[in-house]
């Protein structure tokens, strides 16, 4: 028995020696996975062509000839590609729908979605709202990412307030990176007033602003956020095209009726709820002593503030956003979001 133990010890010693040599003899060359991946990466045009989820975006890209640009192996691009669902929400169902559009406008819209440099998710800061990046049209896109609060959960990533889902972004390409988008980016060169006038569903709101002499307050030299109730919302409160000219501005507290919808010096994107508010940033009109506080959440826009004769400061009402894609309309000096209701009704703002 004693001999057996000694034998075992000898074998164990030998095993230790073998193990030591085995460890020391390990070849520690770098793994070559990176090189393998390099070969299978596709360029931007190829990736779009082979991805069913972006077939509408691909059709548009091809139509205006941008696919040649995205095939350029020397270049470096960031493609913010709206999914087919995003185009469907805009009423674009088939590739042929693009053919009805003005080619130059379509090209401008597509170039608005592409940056001439590769911006990976890792390049974007946490808890930062507007990380401006110039796109192919020379305009700036607002990249935002929520605050990282938990180690294993990546906060959402937004472009001009539109979310790019984690499962759909940071796709490596041989000539850049692609981020899928849940909505089409909406931008019109010019002022926020021009954009508002061109939007189909806000004619009555524009008429209301003009009638109460609020339209000229929206100075083109400043930055604005406009929460614009839809025509339907105004009609529901009796503000029809016939009725608005009959209203006498002197009978109303005009600021109470309209101030909540028009905010100067700030351009609030839908994503700012996640990115700015959680950091203690105030989504409010800063006027100490009697300002309105506006709060954004996933549902819409709510207003708190002084109600004459009732309270110094109270929650007033919430107006929900109209549709998932009728917001983040970006002009050169601001943003417009459509609301499906009013926060102060005309009767509540009427002088007693």
């Amino acid at each position: 028995m004693r001999y057996k133990i000694t034998d075992m010890r000898n074998y164990l010693s030998l095993l230790l020696v073998v193990c030591t040599f085995h460890m020391l003899s390990c070849d520690r060359q770098d793994l070559t996975i990176d090189q393998e991946r390099e070969r299978i990466l596709r360029n931007g045009a190829e990736f779009l062509r082979n991805n069913y989820d972006f077939s509408l975006f691909n059709a548009a890209i091809k139509l205006v000839g941008l696919d040649e640009t995205l095939r350029d192996s020397e270049g470096s691009y960031t493609i913010f590609a709206p999914t087919n669902a995003a185009f469907n929400a805009e009423g674009i169902e088939f590739p042929s729908d693009f053919e009805k559009m003005d080619r130059d406008s379509l090209r401008f819209m597509l170039e608005y979605h592409i940056l001439p440099t590769a911006v990976y998710l890792n390049d974007i800061g946490y808890g930062q709202a507007d990380q401006l990046q110039e796109n192919l049209t020379g305009r700036y896109l607002h990249l935002a990412r929520g605050l990282k609060q938990w180690e294993n959960i990546e906060p959402p990533f937004y472009v001009n307030g539109v979310e790019s889902k984690i499962a759909n972004n940071n796709v490596n390409l041989s000539n850049g990176v692609l981020h899928g988008l849940d909505n089409v980016l909406k931008y019109q060169p010019g002022t926020v007033r021009e954009y508002l006038e061109n939007l189909p569903d806000h004619g009555l709101f524009v008429a209301l602003l003009k009638h109460f002499d609020y339209w000229n307050r929206i100075d083109d030299g400043e930055i604005w956020t406009i929460f614009a109730p839809t025509d339907q919302a105004l009609i529901a409160r009796g503000l029809t095209a016939e009725e608005i000219p009959n209203l006498n501005p002197a009978d109303f507290h005009v600021d109470i009726l309209l101030k909540g919808y028009v905010h100067s010096r700030q351009h609030i994107l839908r994503s700012d709820l996640t990115v700015v508010d959680h950091l203690g940033g105030a989504l409010r009109e800063p006027s100490p002593g009697g300002g309105y506080v506006i709060s954004l959440d996933d549902r819409g826009f709510s207003l708190s503030g002084p109600v004459p004769g009732v309270s110094n400061f109270t929650f007033i009402r919430m107006a929900t956003f109209s549709g998932i894609n009728q917001n983040n309309y970006k002009a050169d000096n601001g943003v417009i979001h459509a609301l499906s209701g009013m926060v102060i009704y005309p009767d509540e703002a009427r002088r007693q």
Partner: protein, 421 residues
């Protein structure tokens, strides 16, 4: 048979010797200590402390990468230099006297420079522990601060389009001198930035070991106090409105004892209550060390080693001149929950600050908004030293008020190491 077994025994042991030798050789290390010739000592804070809000969200992040004497690539993008400090975050409220940042955090974000960066630190100078200061060769040095996105990607790997210059300046550092530097917002409206460099003098002043000293700075931006957009600083504390560019500082000392029921009782120390100690003026030129106010360490009755006394600071605008002594807010034992926004008459004119390690429960004043009191650590340091646990030491501290936030930097003299029994 027995012989062969013995042979077997000898062979493995000699074979074992070989890996042991290999491991021995592999474990050798040569340490080259870094030395800095004719050093100056620097400590840098990122004090771009305006929180992100709807008005300023376009601004680059207040998250910096520092290059000292930078080197650039062919595109003019900084790639290194004499010293580099990446992930420089907005400073913490309290800069403690010991190097707390190294080794106790798994975040790469650095609340000060050198902080977590591994550069040779300053030696003990005239008895002061200066491990929070880095050594740097004296002379003209270029300081380049770059804005960078707030994430964990090293600066060198970021897309160069995502970074921008914050401050680029040259400072002449004198040998053996101590500098405290801040990256500051110079003008609140124009959003210009600057590097503030203060040449410290505490190590040259005849300070007593048995007293504590504190001075004050207002490093706020021009136009901050009068801006309608300032109400975004220390929200929910009396600091929200900030303090005017000129304020009078009143200092009180509070003793803490226990009554017969074992409850803590706080009382102003007679003769050291609401003492005017100076006027604080906004100044970001960095050319001046403000006068230190010294006070004795008030030991507890019957004790010579330890005290629980703490300090109460009040900042009054000159417009409140004459009202300071009669100004009452609750009882020092039950500090009030003051929402300064509800006190319109004092908004912008009065701010208080408690310097205590044990913030007390607040009295229940009927206020709609929950408000936290503004508290910073005590200027008297209670630490384990020798056989005394705790022992109270005085410190040399600076209270810096910057754009609605108040910061405390404490420097301690070296003290006998704790003895555990």
């Amino acid at each position: 048979m027995k012989r062969s077994r013995q042979k077997m025994k000898v062979i493995p042991y000699s074979l074992l010797l070989l890996p042991l030798c290999l491991l021995l050789v592999n474990s050798c290390r040569k340490t080259e200590y870094r030395t800095v010739d004719s050093p100056a000592y620097i400590r840098i804070f990122n004090s771009l402390n305006i929180p992100v809000n709807v008005v300023n969200k376009d601004d680059p992040a207040s998250f910096l990468c520092l290059f000292i004497d930078p080197e650039f690539d062919e595109n003019g993008h900084p790639i290194g230099g004499l010293m580099e400090g990446d992930f420089l975050d907005v400073r913490a409220r309290y800069a403690s006297p010991n190097p707390t940042h190294v080794g106790v955090s798994n975040s790469p974000y650095n609340p000060e420079f050198p902080g977590k960066e591994l550069y040779p630190t300053a030696p003990i100078l005239n008895g002061y522990d200066l491990t929070n200061w880095a050594q740097i060769s004296s002379g003209k040095r270029r300081f380049l601060f770059m804005h960078r996105p707030r994430n964990t990607e090293p600066f060198a790997e970021l897309n160069p389009n995502m970074v921008s210059v914050c401050v680029d300046t040259t400072i002449n550092l004198a040998e053996g001198e101590i500098y405290t530097m801040h990256v500051l917002l110079e003008n609140f409206e124009k959003k210009t930035t600057t590097l503030y460099a203060r040449q410290e003098s505490f190590h040259k002043q005849p300070f007593a070991d048995t007293a504590a000293y504190v001075n004050f700075y207002n490093l706020s931006s021009e136009g901050f106090w009068s801006s309608p957009y300032k109400g975004i600083g220390d929200r929910g504390t009396s600091m929200e409105a900030g303090i005017p560019d000129i304020v009078n500082v009143f200092f009180s000392h509070v003793s803490t004892t226990e009554n017969e029921n074992g409850q803590e009782v706080h009382a102003y120390i007679p003769g050291y209550t609401k003492n005017y100690i100076g006027t604080l003026t906004r100044d970001i030129s960095g050319t001046r060390v403000t006068p230190y106010y010294g006070f004795p360490i008030f030991m507890r009755e019957g004790e010579t080693i330890h005290t629980k006394s703490w300090q109460f600071l009040q900042f009054f605008a000159p417009s409140m001149r004459g009202l300071e002594q009669s100004f009452r807010q609750g009882n020092i034992n039950y500090p009030p929950r003051v929402d300064i926004r509800q006190h319109n008459s004092f908004y912008n004119e009065y701010v208080y600050l408690e310097l205590t390690d044990n913030p007390r429960p607040e009295s229940n004043v009927n206020m709609r908004t929950p408000v936290e009191r503004l508290t910073l650590p005590n200027l008297l340091l209670n630490v384990h030293s020798g056989r005394n646990n705790p022992q109270t030491f005085g410190s040399v501290s600076s209270i810096e008020y910057i754009n609605g936030f108040v910061y405390l930097t404490t420097i301690q003299r070296t003290f006998p190491a704790p003895i555990y029994e």
